[in-house]
Amino acid sequence: MRLRSIVVLILALAFAGAVAFYVLTIPTLAVKAPLPARTADLANGETMFHIGGCASCHATPKQEDQRRLGGGLALATPFGTFMVPNISSDAKNGIGAWTEEAFVNAMLRGVGRNGEHLYPAFPYTSYQRMALDDVRDLFAFLKTLPAETTPSAPHQLPFPFNVRRGLGLWQLIYLDGRSFAPDPGKSAELNRGAYLVEGPGHCAECHSPRDLFGGIVTARRFAGGPDAEGKGWVPNITPHADGLAEWSAKDIAYLLESGLTRDSDSVGSTMADVVLNTAKLSPADRAAMAAYLKSLPPRPGKPPK
């Protein structure tokens, strides 16, 4: 009798746990109903494409055309190897057959076309800050790019990271679903810079250390951290002595344009790809990003000796 009640209790707890897991991990959507019709601004979509850095991961490897988004790059991280998907306009293997609503939910909530959670290697923790219209313009622009027929490869992840549903718990902690709110006390330039850096530019995703669960350590945001693929150290970009204290806003803007550092060395590694994108932004947008970085709270953070 006693054994039976223990078994019943365990089963009840397991059931309650399963229900709680199910409820807590239900994907949340940014848009549920069809969006009203709208004429897309393709030039703005192209700007979002560049600042968003889509090509840095999604461009077909081993060729230089950033407009070919066939995917296939393998990202080796501590959680396993992520295989970057095809996001070209191909209807079968890309996003050509996606609805606009599905694309918006992927960008702003990390929810895939079939309602599944997407891995945050896709930086939706930053993209969630984007304005709805900017995401819609980006989608329209992506659809103008060539179709690539390479099928997307599955990720190679060990348990428990291969359980997508579990990402719902991760999102409870690291995804707040808030879009960017301009600070009325700051200039238009600083607000534009903040939007570009924090939202589509997703600079913090590499330039911050991550905790045990892969979330950004808030107190050390932008203070640099180890590269997620184990390739060295990503620099501190706050105006701290460990970071960009000695850099003028002009120096930062010029790096984003030319790839040259303040002492005329050139950036390499993944930042070289970032500069391919930021070089195509307007000078005003680069200046705004630089101004915002100079306005960040200085935070210590330098590579371990």
Partner: protein
Amino acid sequence: MLRVIAGLAALAVGATVVLAQNTAAIKQRQDAMKALGAAAKEPSQMAKGEAKFDLAKVQASLKSIEATAIKGKTVFPDDSKGGDSAALPIAFTDKADLFAKFDKLAAAAKAAQAAIKDEASLKAEWTKVVSNCGGCHKVYRKPKS
């Protein structure tokens, strides 16, 4: 015991390989990279508006970059892939691409000598030269830490 001796022998061979690096070539390589950085400095300051435009200095920098880029193809001999160097092993296995990128840099520096005439054309054309640096450093240089 035999295994230990074999192991020691392998270690000794390994150490010799490291020692036998062509340190002269590594030094030449580092000097070439420093020369490129030095040549890029003043025109970049002019493009940023931090230094006064000086066509003679820009032309001298561009000639230096062109010459150093051509020389770059001679400073990656196979016996210089170890040692104290930031060059990644792939720089020695994919030389066709590496050298094509040096040619591209030299061509860009040559084209800019004709195209840059004043401050406005410097601002427009200079990044077309220096944007080549990242293309190599992305692939062939160890990330800095």
